[in-house]
Symmetry: C2
């Protein structure tokens, strides 16, 4: 996922302005939630959830059934079936798959980059998702290192015929790693376009991670129709440092890049969903979600098997503790978050077509680490209404709410006016795993994962009971 998470200042300003404009409005001095009503629910969720730790079992089952789940792949198809079966297993109703057409990019078996010389130095690389491949013999060229598109522009003709090496790290001084990611990921997303615009023949991009190791981190990149498509690969952070040092000693070194990846025609896939039907207003819907697809380098346990397991577990928990939500609470396992957001876009279109009334959409796509709160993306009054509930979440150590982006998959729905809620977690290690072979089951802690599921279950229930 990609995120921008502003802090609380803007909301406080809004609250202040609303006080001035609507002094009769009780919201701003809200008395807080009905703790006598909701505390037994919280206790039941904790007692059941933290004893069963079922979210981790769901996640283990998913990564065993479909460790590779890139959109359009056989693994993604297995994941769709797994999702439907898991929702049925947990007693959800109306379990269904809603078809979406998804991009189909395949990595291929050839993937290497070697610094040419008497003692060739192999760099740890992987193709960026969506990249074109190289000719079978590869591309051999000199390398220019840059740290920004401005620096590339300033090079003028020096980039012509070269492999452009984008080597700006994530800013380690940013405490919010998602902000740091946002400050570096332009190189991955637009590097090939900008390199090609200046005559480059390929783009090599420093992995967008705070971890120093020899594992390359892939991720989505794009092209512009008016600019020649050139191949783009991620290089591990340690090899980026090595290549940079080599370039200082040997500015004219050459690298051979070979990639067998290619883009195939779109194929059908699906969002998977199931629900607890609302006892009073079944056509009012609250979504709890994650995304099923993941990059092909790891198991996608962190990104975003965790979110899928939590969505299913949230519905299981609500049923297990015996509450009967007034409105429909639906788990949605989106397809194609990573390279197209076709699932999220399709869902929003379907929701409009079906004339369903969505009261809120919750997404967990920050990795299943210990929850700290929610990022609320909604109209100001809706935001303030939801903020009444914060004290309840203190019992989950998840009451650090803020406003801003809530999740890629639910953003199309949020754009239609539905309040979005992104689960915020302790994110110092998220990018160690993100889009890489490091992203495996052991990166997720059973208690932390379950606490996130409980936070989502509670928020969904509050949205459902809210008058």
């Amino acid at each position: 996922m990609v995120a921008r998470i502003p802090r609380r200042t803007a909301l406080l300003r809004t609250a202040f302005l609303l006080c001035l404009v609507f002094p009769e409005h009780g919201l701003v001095q809200a008395q807080g939630p009905d703790t006598a009503r909701y505390n037994p629910v919280i206790r039941a969720l904790l007692s059941r959830g933290m004893r069963d730790l079922q979210a981790e079992n769901l996640l283990r089952s998913l990564v065993a059934a479909a460790p590779h789940r890139l959109s359009g792949s056989p693994g993604a198809a297995k994941a769709v079936l797994w999702g439907a079966a898991a929702l049925v297993d947990q007693g959800c109703e109306h379990v269904r798959q809603e078809t979406v057409m998804v991009p189909h990019w395949v990595r291929g078996s050839t993937e290497s980059a070697v610094v040419v010389g008497r003692r060739p130095y192999p760099l740890a690389v992987c193709a960026l998702g969506g990249s074109v491949g190289t000719p079978p013999a590869g591309i051999t060229a000199g390398v220019v290192e840059v740290h920004s598109f401005d620096e590339l522009r300033a090079l003028g003709p020096a980039a012509k015929g070269k492999i452009v090496f984008f080597n700006r790290p994530m800013d380690p001084a940013k405490v919010n790693t998602f902000e740091a990611y946002g400050g570096a990921v332009d190189q991955r997303g637009r590097g090939a376009v900008e390199a090609s615009r200046h005559g480059g023949v390929a783009a090599l991009v420093r992995s967008v991670t705070t971890k120093l190791d020899r594992v390359p981190h892939t991720g989505a990149m794009g092209y512009q129709d008016t600019i020649p498509k050139i191949p783009a690969a991620a290089v591990s952070t340690l090899d980026a440092d090595t290549l940079s040092a080599m370039l200082k000693r040997t500015p004219h070194l050459r690298v051979t890049l070979r990639m067998g990846c290619r883009i195939l025609p779109d194929v059908p896939s699906a969002n998977v969903m199931g629900e607890i039907v609302g006892s009073e207003k079944p056509n009012d819907v609250i979504v709890v979600s994650g995304h099923l697809d993941c990059w092909d380098e790891g198991q996608g346990a962190v990104d975003d098997g965790a979110g899928c397991a939590q969505a299913i577990e949230a519905l299981r928990l609500l049923q297990a503790i015996g509450v009967h939500p007034k409105k429909t609470i639906r788990a949605v396992l989106f397809m194609n978050e990573e390279n197209g957001d076709r699932g999220g876009k399709g869902y929003a279109v379907d929701a409009r077509r079906l004339q369903e009334h969505h009261l809120g959409a919750i997404e967990s796509d920050m990795g299943g680490f210990a929850p700290r709160g929610f990022s609320v993306d909604a109209d100001s009054l809706a935001t303030l209404r939801s903020y009444r509930w914060r004290p309840l979440f203190a019992q989950l150590q998840a009451d650090e709410w803020s406003t801003g982006y809530s999740g890629t998959d639910i953003t199309p729905l949020v754009r239609t006016g539905v309040p979005g809620f992104g689960l915020i977690v302790e994110g110092q290690s998220y990018f160690d795993y993100h889009h890489s072979a490091n992203d495996v089951l052991s990166a997720v802690h059973p208690r932390e994962l379950e606490l996130g599921a409980i936070a989502e279950a509670l928020l969904a229930y509050l949205l459902s009971e809210d008058e």
Copy 2:
């Protein structure tokens, strides 16, 4: 460490009462800290700290030099030398060792528990720290399982001649794992005394951890002079479950426990300290601390190599960014937190003898995970004064302050009226590692560890500059 961490309610009540009693006192409506003055310091700490990530290097160096650091052991002596060298390396002044006499318990090489039978079942056990050993041939006896001292008492004579098996787990539904620990650790601390009081011949205690695995977790236990000393061992959680199931099938099963541990006479060891001498009031002291000693089963990276590395790093950072604290900031690496607190007690006595004026004591002993705030143990007005600073810590995502226990080593100092500050961290995984072979370097995340060091450096600096 052991902790009780109450929530914010008591403090809010105090603030309210202070408002009533001292309406003229500006503290309660405090305007917040001088952000213009302190923001450059925070930025510099983050920039330097998160780039260098030196806390992890210090921790790596410690566990390489002295992986086993139980009080009185050769490893603990190496750790003392390491600490002094590290403080000198980082440019600290007045680096010194202050002698304390410490308990000297040795585990010995024999340590086993086997369920007797045609197919003997070996249980994963380790002696609890401070336990007497068994005779060389071991103790073979039947087993009674209990979950509380009340249940043991109710058994009456049934415990006589038996190994008493305390099998109450940590309550998984408690979100605060330290609270859950507090609710189970009585079995470890007093199990041998209570078992012996009822005629038991040994105590077998379920490991105090939320993790289900075959790794036993040791920790301190005690005896009473008037009650016969019997051996006590921890059994891994999975083996506790297995033994419990076996007892249901075969109530009269017998276990042979063999332990070669023994208690030797006290030996000298030392607290290690070094400081940045205050530019205006060198006799006013702020302590930043962790403890050097650890249990012998793992490397003590989490408990509490992390806290030692952070204390040294906090002082390094303050020097590296070029601030000159008005008062003395002292790193203290305490000895013997785990089984006697001789270092903490000795330091408090020395502080009084030396007529030093301590303005605050900070301890990190919750494992170097992502910081969330501080637990303040101080007089109400001192607590409220320190709470003014919370907004500054929002930039470190560490502004969830609360009141209560601050740390074992600094508690003797806190009892003399010095405000104590315990670094609170994201603690879901802490007890996975605690006092066991799981406690190794890889359990600590470089960025999370460094953020804790930065939070401590900032708090120490604020205490130093406070008028």
